[in-house]
C-alpha cells in the first residue's frame, strides 16, 4: 500500500507504470460492470476471483524475481505441479493408510512440497549461475525434466482424494478473506521486503540492471542468482499447494496455459523484461486485471480462446504503449532541457 501512495505522490517513471495500471484496472472493472452488471458485480464473483488470483499471482511473482535479474523462469508451472504432486503423494500414502496424526502429516507433506520447490529452483539457479547456461535454456530444459519427473512418479495419473483437512485450507476463509489470498498477501509482502529492504534483494536488482557493473562491484552474482531461482521455486511450490488444496487433487499437467499468463502478468505489472525493475504491487494488481478480464469474458459467455486472444493483445499493447510513452517522455525532456553551450 505504501507503494501506491508513494507512486501517486512522486512522478517517477517506475511508479507512473503503477498508476497507469491502476487506471487500466478501473477501466476494465467499469467496462464489465456496465456490460454485465448482474453477473460481474456480485459478491459471488468477487469471492471466486479472490480464490483464483493467488495461485497465478504466486507463479507470476516467481517469474518476476527471475526477470528482475534479467533472466526468466519458464519452469514455474512444472515446479508447482511437481511440488503439489509430492505433497499429495505423501498425504495420500501416509494420512489414509497410517491413520495416525493427520495434522502432523499434512504439515510434513506441505513442508516437503515447499522443499521440493526450493530444491528444483536451486537446481535451476545452480545450472544458470554455476555452469553459465542462459536462463531461458536452462529453465526450458528443467521445465521438461520436472514435468517428466511429475509424470513418472504416478505414471502420468493425477492424485485425487486428498484429506479434507488439507482441502479446507484452500477453500476456507480467515476473517472473511480467502486463505489463499492471505497466503498471497503474506508471500507478496515477503517478496517486497526481500527486494526493497534486504541486501541480497537490492543486489538482485543491480545484477538485472547491469551484470558487468554488478560483477565489478564485487556483488556475489552467483549467490544472488542461486537465491533468486530458489525463491522462484518456493513461490511456485506455494502456488502448486494452493492449487492442490483448492481442487483436492494434484495433476502433473495442470495449468499448462499458466506460463504465458504469468509472463503476461509480470510484463503488464510493469516489470522490466530486461531486468532491474519491478514491483510486487504491480504484479498483484495486474493479476487482478487479468482475472477480471477472465471473469468478465465468462460472464459474457465468450470462449476461453477469446481470453487467450485478449491476453496476447494486452501483452503486446502494454509493451507498445510503454515504448511509445518512454519515447514521448524522452522527447519532452530533451525539449525542456536547457541547451548546452
Amino acid at each position: 500500500m505504501k507503494d501506491i501512495s508513494r507512486g501517486l505522490a512522486q512522478r517517477l517513471l517506475s511508479d507512473r507504470k503503477l498508476s497507469q495500471l491502476i487506471v487500466v484496472a478501473i477501466v476494465v472493472f467499469a467496462a464489465f460492470g456496465i456490460l454485465v452488471p448482474d453477473v460481474f458485480l456480485t459478491p459471488r464473483n468477487f469471492v471466486s476471483m479472490a480464490f483464483q488470483i493467488p495461485e497465478i499471482a504466486l507463479l507470476a511473482l516467481g517469474v518476476m524475481l527471475a526477470m528482475l535479474t534479467a533472466g526468466i523462469d519458464l519452469s514455474v508451472v512444472s515446479m508447482s505441479n511437481l511440488a503439489a504432486l509430492s505433497t499429495a503423494y505423501l498425504m495420500v500414502t501416509q494420512v489414509t493408510e497410517g491413520g495416525g496424526n493427520v495434522y502432523l502429516w499434512i504439515v510434513i507433506a506441505i513442508a516437503i512440497g515447499i522443499v521440493v520447490g526450493l530444491i528444483s529452483g536451486l537446481a535451476n539457479g545452480a545450472i544458470i549461475a554455476g555452469i553459465g547456461v542462459t536462463p531461458i535454456l536452462a529453465t526450458l530444459a528443467t521445465l521438461t525434466l520436472y514435468n517428466g519427473i511429475a509424470v513418472g512418479i504416478r505414471n502420468g495419473q493425477s492424485i485425487t482424494g486428498l484429506p479434507p483437512e488439507f482441502v479446507a485450507i484452500g477453500n476456507g476463509s480467515l476473517l472473511g478473506i480467502p486463505i489463499p489470498m492471505v497466503i498471497l498477501l503474506v508471500a507478496g509482502a515477503g517478496v517486497a521486503l526481500y527486494i526493497n529492504k534486504t541486501g541480497l534483494g537490492m543486489q538482485s536488482l543491480l545484477v538485472g540492471a547491469n551484470r558487468d557493473a554488478a560483477t565489478y562491484s564485487a556483488i556475489g552474482v552467483k549467490k544472488v542468482l542461486l537465491l533468486t531461482y530458489a525463491l522462484s521455486g518456493g513461490l511456485s511450490a506455494l502456488a502448486g499447494l494452493i492449487i492442490a488444496s483448492r481442487s483436492a487433487s494434484a495433476n502433473p499437467d495442470y495449468g499448462s496455459s499458466y506460463l504465458l499468463l504469468a509472463i503476461v502478468i509480470v510484463v503488464l505489472g510493469g516489470v522490466n523484461p530486461y531486468g532491474g525493475f519491478g514491483t510486487v504491487t504491480g504484479v498483484i494488481i495486474a493479476t487482478g486485471v487479468l482475472q477480471m478480464v477472465s471473469s468478465g469474458f465468462n460472464a459474457l459467455r465468450f470462449s476461453q480462446f477469446y481470453y487467450q486472444l485478449a491476453q496476447g493483445v494486452v501483452l503486446v499493447a502494454v509493451m507498445v504503449l510503454n515504448i511509445y510513452l518512454d519515447k514521448q517522455r524522452l522527447k519532452a525532456k530533451r525539449e525542456k532541457a536547457p541547451k548546452k553551450p
Binding site: 535454456l137 521438461t144 513418472g152 503476461v264 470462449s303 477469446y306 503486446v316 507498445v320
Partner: protein, 349 residues
Amino acid sequence: MSYITPIAKRKGLQLWGSPNEIFLVIAIAVLSLVIGFSNSVFFSIATPFDLLRSSLIEILFALGLLIVLVSGGIDISFPIVGIFAGYTTVVVMLHYGLDTYSLWIPLVIAAVVGALLGSVNALLIAGFGLPTLIATLGTASIFRGFLLSYVGSAYIANIPLGLDQFATADLISVETATGTLARLHVLVIPTLILAIALAWMMRRTMFGRTIFAIGGSEESARRMGMNVRWTKARIYILVGALSGIAGIIYVSLQRVADPYALAGTELGIIAAVVLGGASIMGGYGTVTGTVLGVLLINLIKDNLILLGIPGSWQRAAIGLMLLIGVVSQAISDNRRLKQAGTVTGEDKP
C-alpha cells in the same frame, strides 16, 4: 554482448566440421550402435526412413528458427503460425471449392498467410522494438486465440485431394524382412534443397551476412551502416512464410487439419536448434548442426522404449537429455571464450 570474439574463432560461417557437428554425428552413431546391439530390430532400413519422416516437419520449423536465433532473437510463435496457416489454407480451399490435386495452391496460400502473420511479428519487433521473447509470446497467444475463435475449432478430415495424396507420396518403398513396407517420403528432397538454399543464403548473400552481423552485435552492425530494422523485418516475414509451409505440409502428412495441433512444440524445437550448436545469444549457428540436432533428439525420442526406458519416464528422459545438451553447450562455449582470452567477468555465459 559485452565481449568480443574474433570472427575467425567463430565457426558460424562455415558449413562443415565444427566440433559441435562432429560431436553430434558421433553421438548419433554411438547411440545407434547402442540401440542396435540392445535390440536388433533397430538395424532395419525402416529405422532411418521413419526417423526422417518424424523429423522432416521439425527440420522445416527448426531452419526458420535458426535464422531468428542467429539474428539474436527468439521466436515462440512459429508452431502457431504454422498451424494457423495450414488450417486456414484448408478452410479457404474448401470454402472456395478448390478441392484440387494441385500442391502449389495450398503451398502458396500457406506461405502467404504465414508471411502475413510473420509481418505482425516483424512490425512489433523491428517496428516498435519489442523484446523478441515477449513479442512472440504475445502474438502466439493472439494468433491461437484468433484461429480458434474466428477461423474454426473443428477437425477437418477431408483435406484437399492434393494434400491428401501427398501424405503417401513415397520416394522409395522397400519391403523389409518382416514383410512391412519401409517408406521414404518424397519430402526429403524439397527439405534437402531448402536446407542447402538456406545455408547458401546465410553464408553467401548480403542478407545472410547481415543476419550474422546483427546477431554478433546489433550496435556494431548499425554503425557499419547495415539496415538493422529492415533486415529484422525480413527475417520475421521469411520465418513466417517458412512456418506456414511447414504447417501445411504437417496438415498434409497428418491427413487431417487439426487447429489444436503443434501448440507446445516450440520448446522442443528450440532445444533441438540449440543442441545443434546455434547460440541463443545470436551470431552463431549452422544449418548442418540444426538438422543434426533435430535428428539426434528424434532418434532418442523414437527409441526410448528400445533403450529400456519405461513409458512413463520418457518425458523425464527427454528433459534430462535437453539439460545435458544445454549444459554441454554452455561448457564448451565457456572454454572457447576462455581460450580466445575474451572472458571479462567471472560469469560469462
